[in-house]
Amino acid sequence: MKDFFFLAFNNLKRRKLRSWLTILGIFIGIAAVVSLISLGQGLQSFIHEQFEQVGGNKILVSPKTMMGMAGSATEEELVLTEDDLKAIRSVTGVEGAEGIVTRNSIISYKKESEVVMVAGMSEEYVEIFGNIDALKIIEGRQLRDSDKSNIVVGYNHIFGNLWDRKLKIGDDLEIKGKEFEIVGVLKKQGNPADDNAVWMEKETFRDLFDVGDNEGTITVKVKEGFNPDKVAEEIKEELRDERNEEEEQETFSVQTFSQLLETFNDIFAVVQVVLIGIAAISLLVGGIGIMNTMYMAVLERTKEIGTMKAVGAKNSDVLLIFLFESGLLGLVGGAIGIALGIGIGKAVEYIATAQLGTPYLQAVFGFPLIIGALIFSFIVGCLSGILPALQAAKLKPAEALRYE
């Protein structure tokens, strides 16, 4: 066995350039597979961590978007109001519920203007959900219900380049003709929508944007010991009654975080399949490259094959030598591909971290991934080599020896 490996390796060395070109075809595919899987795993574990941190005990109630709705529903009806909030709070198993309303708006600092997301939030929201990352204050303080002309701003206002001059706590921003003083700044979230946002007290927001008792999106905290999915069902029923809506015709949606996670996982699985599919095609092309190289090798070495048979090689010996040869092409391609894949994964991780400022995207290289990729590339090589190797093995010794 070992000797056959040596013979195979020897043959690859003699056609160095061709071997490397063949290997190139394989390692691109393997590099794609390895980097995609590692980044995918990294992203997935990050999202899971996030969900874990936010907690599985939360439910999100939001108006259904216009998309896919029958023409009957007007924008007006698609809003969640204070009555809806009260109804939700009345459901058993609900510990607390609060809405956040948002609008995109022009805000100005001195002569400069920007369009950002402005959000209205009550003190109670902070009390219920204050431990999540999105509400962490890194300087100044959080909003109170008495803050009628104060705001909390996203990271970019103070530490980023949103404005020509970096602002500081105590500076004033003008929103819809009214001056607001900055009292706090939130932790960096890594996406511009959140990091450019401005937060104000809910009632102040409602007056300013004239949205009545609109609650926007309502977040519900489920009491300890209650099943979030069951509570979500009950909220749905309660809201249907309260809003006089038929089942399956609701103008709102109730989602638990575990459902969101599932949705995410579903989407992720599809994306993964598509990406792996692309990688598989490139591997297929690489495999065909190996097959081609091996057919050429069989043709070139016909006389040698005859000689080997004349000195006692069985068909199976010849088969193994050629299979090892193609397997080695795959294996070396795999090893280089893995190295390259790790490089790509780390590079993407580095760029993503630099761009977003937070380690959202970590490339995860597990032992199983690396070993799996190595075995897989060896198998791809062997499979690609089967037909040429069979052809070599079947050669008749006398005829092979006559071959010029």
């Binding site: 000797d3 056959f4 013979l7 020897n10 043959n11 060395k13 003699r14 006389k303 040698e304 005859g306 000689t307 080997m308 048979k309 004349a310 000195v311 006692g312 090689a313 069985k314 068909n315 199976s316 010996d317 008749k396 010794p397 006398a398 020896l401």
Partner: protein, 224 residues
Amino acid sequence: MKEEIIKLDKVDKNYILGDSIVKAVRNASLTIRKGEFIAIVGPSGSGKSTLMNLIGALDLATKGRIFLEGKDIEHLEESELAVIRGNKIGFVFQTFNLIPTLTALENVTLPMVFQGFSKEERIERATELLKDVGLEERMKHLPGELSGGERQRVAIARALANNPDVILADEPTGNLDSKTGKHILEILKDLNKKGKTIIIVTHNLEMARKVDKIIKIKDGKIVK
């Protein structure tokens, strides 16, 4: 009388080329005994190589039977034929047929690889064989770095690797100058003295005169 080692009984070998049949060997019968030195002579295209291939189990007869040590090789499996080629017969070719990527030593060990000898055994025996043909200085050289005569000596060492009883040499001196060719023939004669059965295809009549028996072949038929 020594024991029979090879026997051909009314052997035909036909090649089919498109819709014409080439009768390369016709109704050939012969007996070769252990320790004989045999020369096969005949014009080009007369079927000498074809006959050699049949004797060496490199090819199967179209008709008739071939016995090796009393065994009919017609009825053997491919893998059994391979074992015969590996163990009972050593081939020497006109074009040397060394594996260009392997050193002289590795080329000589190759037949032993297929018989499953350990690396130590192989290297020990191959070193010995290369010494016998005077190539101990060239063991680590690739075939491309050797002269024709040296290559053929490596090939002879390789043919002896598994200590076969029979050496088949198809025009072993055909690609060599006469002096080198003589040297190769000396080596073969020596081997014959040590008990090997040797069958050689040659055009060299001077050489052919020195052997035990000459088999003349013309148009695929053995004439004497």
